[in-house]
Amino acid sequence: MNRIEEAKKEYKAAERKKLMLILVFVVLVAITVPITLGFGVYKISLVDSIITFIQHITGNITNPKADTFIWNVRLPRALGAITIGAGLSVAGAVMQNDFKNPLAEPYTMGISSGAFFGVVIVIVSGACIIPGLTGQSAYMVNAFVFSIIPIVLILLVAKFRKVTPVAMILIGIAVMFLFNSISQVMLLASTAENLADAYSWRVGNTSRIGWSELPLLIAVTVVAICLVWTLSRKLDVMYAGDRGAQSLGIRPNRLRIASMTIVSLMTAAIVSVSGTIGFIGLVGPHIARMFVGSNNKYLIPASAAFGALFIAVTDTIAKVTGPDGLPVGVISSLVGGPLFVYILIKCRSKVWM
């Protein structure tokens, strides 16, 4: 009896620790956002920027120029960055769980190459799915529509025959290579400026985010994260393997397709706004897993919080490097790569396998 009590206590303590860790990440995000407002091309000191921010809320604006910068440029960018980080990281966690594959990431199904293909079509031919649309909004619409093609394809295949996880991954690889090669052919036949445009779209960037696209982005991400979080118990059971899950009363294939579709739609929305930001979707969940373990009830919020924190911090560093400096994707790999290897060695984690 005593032992049971002890085990219970230990379990409770471990749970509290996990909750605390998640809370710490959330608090850090909350601290980072005001700090990141102070960085950018137009020099505003840290204190001033926070004062400006508070003044805007209270409706007592003393410095209109600083206010415009903070409110119209930096705040949407910061909010966009944390949304993207959280969304991609959760998408990665779910994909890795679904396919029981540590190499799976939000783009495994070919979403990024589909989006890129859509953008290349706009850049090279000027045509958009919705006629008459041009510029940034045309990029976004096309990117979104084309990035869901791979998902639709997998759903269609799954409708008519049983698809194993491996087959899904292979379909993703095939679609990715197909889209990428067509985009490359189109770009190589095109001019150097078009190539540069496409390249700069592809390297993920948070600087394009403004108030117009932010509400939709946040709404989609929050809804998707909540949806997969409610599925977290069922997702846990997938660790038992397909047969084990089946005998525990879950339809693994159905669950896999459902959760994959949810996170893929979210990823498509993110990619169409920000381009392909790599690294966080693959590595974010792994780092979160090292802190809180594989239990999805904690893993999903921890991934979201860590992803948000990581992109918020690296985006701040990206802003420090200047207007023509490094995009956030490059910074995050540059900082995160060695960090990740270090954590991996330190933790000697046995979470996978």
Binding site: A104, A174, Q184, G336, P338, R348, W352
Partner: protein, 364 residues
């Protein structure tokens, strides 16, 4: 009563066995025929005033040493052109195709992961980093400069990730997941350095670096062949001989250990071998993608997962894929070979996945 059942199943089994065997033989025959055809076609594209049959004659005559044609006659020119321009190119394509697809098959078996390819441990990004530092910053890790400076730099860079993994493996227990994750971390790091260097340079240097990154078989001479050939030959033989161990690995780590295989050691040895092979090829031709990832999958989709057949047939399929793509790339459009390969290969791959029957005992 029971005897009848057994004989019937045995006959059935036999029939199935022969059917499976014939499928393997057909695939092999198709590949070899295709490879031979493209050797001729390719030589023809270099020197087009002779017929297809004559190209084979000229190649054969050169191999047996019967090539003392009258100077400046048609055959003499044909011999020179084909032997000095077409044959090295073809050989490099064959070696690269073999090497990359065998490494892909090996990596997928070792990691039991369908997403693994020869570059999973970060070899490509390391090589790329080495080459790009030589091209853009002009920094070489050795005293050699110029064209060979890029080659040596790429080779040294390619070995860095493998070295890191080996060093770490001495300290912690390595599971496939750890190896993959460390490789991913390293390659992200190198890739971001490459992106940084590429952003900070001018357009012309960027183009050189970009072409290196995409991979190209152009301008291969006899000088590139010996190292690649030796590494690939030795490596391939070693891998082909270890098909039993690889099949054990596919049963899962615990089963493999209980069947008497030192999994940790075997995996590290294979990683070293594979790094050397891939580095040897990547150093000369740049990063050619697709073939290493997809060729083994195509083979498995057609004939099943037995490594005894998967490895040699992957070599054949990979070589055919690369030669075909290279021929099309040169003949019809001035495109990088990797692009053409994925353009042609991915629909084939998609169709194979969609029409794959479970009965063939496929995959993991």
């Amino acid at each position: 009563m029971s005897e009848i059942v057994i004989t019937r199943t045995r006959e059935q089994l036999k029939r199935e066995y022969y059917k499976a065997l014939s499928r393997k033989l057909i695939l092999l025959t198709v590949c070899i025929t295709g490879i031979l055809l493209f050797i001729g076609l390719f030589s023809l594209s270099v020197f087009d005033s002779i017929s297809l049959g004559e190209t084979y004659e000229i190649i054969w005559n050169h191999i047996v040493g019967n090539n003392d044609y009258e100077p400046r006659s048609l055959e003499w020119w044909a011999d020179r052109y084909i032997w000095n321009r077409s044959i090295p190119h073809i050989l490099v394509a064959i070696i690269a195709g073999c090497c990359l697809s065998i490494c892909g098959a090996l990596m997928q078996s070792l990691m039991s992961n369908p997403l693994a390819d020869p570059y999973t441990t970060g070899i490509s990004s390391g090589a790329c980093f080495g080459a790009v530092t030589a091209i853009i910053a002009g920094i070489t890790f050795s005293s050699i400069t110029g064209e060979m400076g890029i080659v040596t730099n790429a080779f040294i860079g390619a070995m860095i990730p493998a070295l890191i993994i080996i060093l770490i493996s001495a300290r912690i227990r390595m599971t496939p997941a750890t190896i993959i994750l460390i490789g991913t971390g390293i390659s992200y790091f190198f890739n971001s350095m490459v992106t940084y260097l590429m952003i900070s340079t001018d357009a012309d240097t960027l183009k050189t670096a970009y072409i290196w990154q995409v991979g190209s078989l152009d301008g291969m001479t006899w000088a590139s062949v010996p190292l690649m050939f030796t590494v690939t030959l030795v490596g391939s033989i070693l891998v082909l001989l270890s098909w039993r161990q690889l099949n054990l690995m596919s049963l899962g780590e615990e089963s493999a250990v209980s069947l008497g295989l030192d999994v940790q050691k075997f995996r590290i040895l294979c990683l070293i071998l594979m790094s050397l092979m891939t580095a040897g090829v990547v150093t000369y031709v740049g990063i050619i993608g697709f073939v290493g990832l997809v060729a083994p999958h195509i083979v498995r989709l057609v004939i099943g997962g037995d490594n005894k057949y998967v490895i040699p047939l992957s070599m054949a399929v990979g070589t055919l894929l690369l030669l075909f793509a290279d021929y099309v790339a040169i003949q019809f459009a001035n495109l990088p070979v990797g692009v053409v390969m994925s353009l042609i290969g991915s629909p084939v791959f998609l169709i194979l996945i969609l029409y794959n029957h479970k009965s063939r005992g496929v995959l993991y």
